[in-house]
């Protein structure tokens, strides 16, 4: 479903991703954890075309998004292919990034009607169904500023799902929320996991990662330091670095 | 000297403005070449065809400030009237051409004349050295004294009493020049303003103690509006009014001069003067 090989990325001289290798299988839920500045978000942004990777290879759903040629230069797929890939992936942002001038319903139907050329009625029907799933069908005509943070994030998940992506990415989906609101988002993600959705989640919620992920990736300093099942990573066999990180994390 | 700097600055600004226009937008506000009348008659002509040009166009464009009663001003119905206008109208009638009254900004009158926006300045314009240098002036047609007007109830009774007082004067006028060159200048505070009527109003309201202005204007006002003003005895300097033409437009100037003289001879000028001033105050020989 997703294949990342030897991925590297630097901003000016600063190297933020080095030799990243991992795969995500269909139906798998992958949690990416690690300290701030470890490159987790950058990795997600590279895979979602918000940043241009400097080298390596990315394949999404069997389509090559980028690779490195013989001269060591990154070569990207043509615009059409990149768009095609874009529609197979969905992204949920830390700050929701809902469109403030549109109702909840239009936030969700805008892309399906514009990009997938769905009819208004069809897009609307799908959107209402998604809102029902998120427990927000009563808020269809509300504007984002009228919703709580948790509600806004659920709308943004519905918005991403409206394009029927094959793989869904979450960039710290609960970081901007008050602690009492994180639960409702985690519940939604868990439900999606139960439905068999393929997901990559960058998160600071260790208990949640342990609970829901099939695989956990621990990043630090731009490298993948450790990778494996939650039992392995959160168990006694984990690397010393990870143990140290978790220990510090639990102190908070 | 002063004018040549202004010319250069204006040229520079104009070039920048036009460059911005071309680079910025290709905006449709570029003036359309609608009419064919020549504009570039400012270059020194080899032969003087100024009168012929006016005759061909069948009109004389008279530039004025239109707020200088009784010489040239705007009446209640927004018509431009006045002593100068009546005389100019008669001149044009006799020459068989149309009189076009073109309001201008008094501060840029020399530019308007030299660049050909107008053919003459005829608006109670006082003769001074700078104007004689910049323009081709007609023979003076009226005498004017520069006097002080004070409110009727004031303690100021002579020019000597003005020391330490505030005096209003019209910006850019010869009155201002004369006042600033006078001995009195160092003892008074001068408040320049755009027009004489505002100055007189301000004086009534107490903003100033006196106004220094042309006697022609002052007497017309006092008579017309029944104002309780007092004119201080004596004057700083007497001056004369003349019509201004472009430096090279000798033929046009002579033609107008000749006609005014003829009007003096046959009594028409005196008639117009009586209408505005009650007597013949003109000094045309």
């Amino acid at each position: 479903m997703l294949e990342v090989k030897n991925l590297s990325k630097s901003f000016d001289k600063l190297c933020v991703l080095k030799d990243i290798n991992f795969t995500v299988e269909k139906g798998e839920v992958v949690a990416v954890i690690g300290p701030s500045g470890s490159g987790k978000s950058t990795l997600l942004r590279c895979v979602n075309q918000l940043e241009k990777a400097g080298g390596g290879e990315i394949n999404v759903c069997g389509i090559n998004m980028m690779h490195t040629n013989e001269k060591g230069k990154a070569v990207f797929a043509d615009t059409k292919t990149l768009r095609e890939i874009r529609l197979k992936t969905g992204l949920v942002f830390q700050n929701f990034n809902l469109f403030p001038h549109m109702t909840v319903l239009r936030n969700i139907t805008e892309a399906p009607t514009l990009v997938l050329k769905k009819s208004k009625a069809e897009a609307r029907e799908h959107a209402i169904e998604l809102l029902r799933k998120m427990g927000l069908e009563a808020k269809a005509d509300a504007y984002p500023s009228e919703l709580s943070g948790g509600q806004q994030q659920r709308v943004s998940i519905a918005r991403a799902l409206a394009l029927d992506p094959e793989i869904l990415f979450f960039d710290e989906p609960t970081s901007a929320l008050d602690p009492e609101l994180t639960g409702e988002i985690l519940k939604v993600i868990k439900e999606l996991a139960n439905d068999g959705m393929t997901m990559v989640i960058v998160t600071h919620e260790m208990a949640f990662a342990h609970d829901v992920a099939d695989k956990v990736i621990f990043m630090e300093g731009g490298y993948i330091v450790d990778e494996g099942t939650p039992e392995h990573l959160f168990g006694d066999n984990a690397s010393d670095r990870l143990k140290q990180f978790l220990q510090r994390f639990n102190q908070h | 000297m002063k004018k040549s700097i202004l010319t250069r600055v204006l040229t520079g600004f104009a070039a920048i403005a036009l460059a911005a226009a071309c680079a910025g937008c290709g905006n449709n506000n570029q003036p359309a070449a609608t009419t064919t009348a020549a504009a570039a008659n400012s270059a020194p002509a080899a032969e003087d065809n100024s009168w012929q040009k006016v005759l061909d166009a069948k009109k004389l464009v008279l530039g004025l400030d239109a707020s200088f009663p009784p010489m040239g001003f705007t009446d209640e119905a927004n018509n431009i009237v006045g002593f100068d206008i009546d005389v100019a109208q008669e001149v044009c009638d006799r020459l068989g051409i149309e009189l076009v009254k073109q309001p201008i900004n008094w501060d840029t009158k020399e530019e308007d004349l030299n660049l050909g926006k107008i053919d003459c300045i005829w608006n109670g314009m006082s003769v001074n050295a700078a104007r004689a240098e910049a323009m081709n002036l007609s023979e003076p047609y009226m005498k004017n004294e520069m006097i002080f007007v004070v409110p009727g109830n004031t303690v100021v009774k002579t020019m000597e009493d003005l020391k330490g007082k505030t005096v209003g004067v019209q910006t850019g006028s010869t009155a201002q020049e004369i006042l600033e060159a006078s001995e009195l200048f160092k003892d008074i505070t001068v408040t320049p303003l755009e027009d004489n009527v505002t100055l007189l109003n301000q004086m009534e309201l107490g903003f100033s103690d006196a106004v220094f202005l042309d006697s022609v204007v002052a007497y017309y006002y006092i008579a017309e509006n029944n104002k309780d003003y007092y004119v201080l005895p004596g004057n700083l300097e007497s001056e004369e009014y003349a019509i201004g033409f472009r430096k090279n437009d000798q033929a046009l100037r002579d033609k107008v001069q000749e006609t005014v003289k003829a009007m003096k001879a046959d009594g028409k000028l005196a008639e117009i003067s009586k209408k505005w001033f009650g007597s013949d105050v003109t000094t045309v020989k």
């Binding site: 918000l50 | 104009a14 504009a39």
Partner: protein
């Protein structure tokens, strides 16, 4: 001044509100789109273009509008007189009749438009730059192309954000039209100034003030209505309210 005189004066001023409105409307008509173009040029990644735009804005905002109006009036004859004037420009400008009313009006409008476009450009640029990057990223992640992103996501938000500052500029323009009286162009302020010596009274100026005040007030109301109507929540509430009234009316 007698009542009859005031009535005459009022009628005269009413007549000359048309030229004032003409300057106002044409300036807005051209300067707003031009301002948008200038804003985009200023944000242009090609440095020389962005610099040139900056210089233009600097000059327009850094010199008095009154001076710009005067310079515009004299630009054509001075360029024709100048030795540095290239032949093609000379040929282009030679037929211009500087005595015509069209010339006076067009050059005046030219200065007004260039001046106001510079101010609008800065307002629009501020508006565009105030939209968070996340909005572009969200639109991109949803597969919207650049045109769709600009017109569907960015522009509606920019319009709402720039409206208060633009309203301010528009109200200022109402009063700035009076600078045309210095050209001179016959509008309300010109009439008022010329009627001062005629009546030997300052009342014409006060009356002109009333005209501008009335004009600005109507505009203020209109603009606040537009501002409200661009607020989606206000629009929705009005709609629901109307529906409610309608339903009750039919019951």
């Amino acid at each position: 001044m007698t009542g009859e005189q005031i009535e005459t004066l009022f009628g005269l001023m009413l007549e000359y509100t048309i030229p004032t409105l003409k300057i106002f409307c044409f300036t807005l008509l051209y300067s707003i789109p031009l301002g948008m173009v200038v804003a985009l040029l200023k944000m242009c990644k090609i440095k020389p273009i962005s610099w040139l735009t900056n210089i233009y804005i600097l000059i327009m905002r850094g010199t008095p509008l009154l001076l710009q109006l005067i310079v515009a009036q004299y630009s054509v004859p001075y360029i024709l007189k100048s030795d540095a004037c290239p032949a093609f420009l000379h040929a282009l400008l030679d037929g211009v009749d500087i005595r015509s009313e069209t010339y006076t009006f067009n050059m005046m409008l030219f200065a007004f438009v260039l001046n106001y476009a510079a101010y609008f450009a800065e307002i629009f640029r501020g508006g565009i730059e105030s939209i968070p990057r996340g909005q572009y990223e969200a639109a991109g992640a949803l597969g919207l192309n650049r045109t769709q992103t600009f017109f569907r996501i960015i522009l509606p938000q920019v319009i709402r954000r720039v409206l208060p500052a633009s309203s301010n500029e528009i109200i200022t323009l109402v009063k700035d039209t009076s600078l045309a009286s210095a050209i001179p162009y016959m509008e309300i302020m010109y009439i008022a100034k010329k009627q001062v010596p005629t009546y030997a009274s300052l009342l014409p100026l006060f009356m002109a003030g009333l005209f501008y005040f009335a004009f600005a007030m109507v505009l203020t109301l209109l603009l606040s209505l537009i501002e409200k109507s661009l607020d989606p929540m206000w629009r929705r509430n009005v709609k629901t309210l109307r529906k409610g009234i309608f339903r009750r009316g039919n019951a």
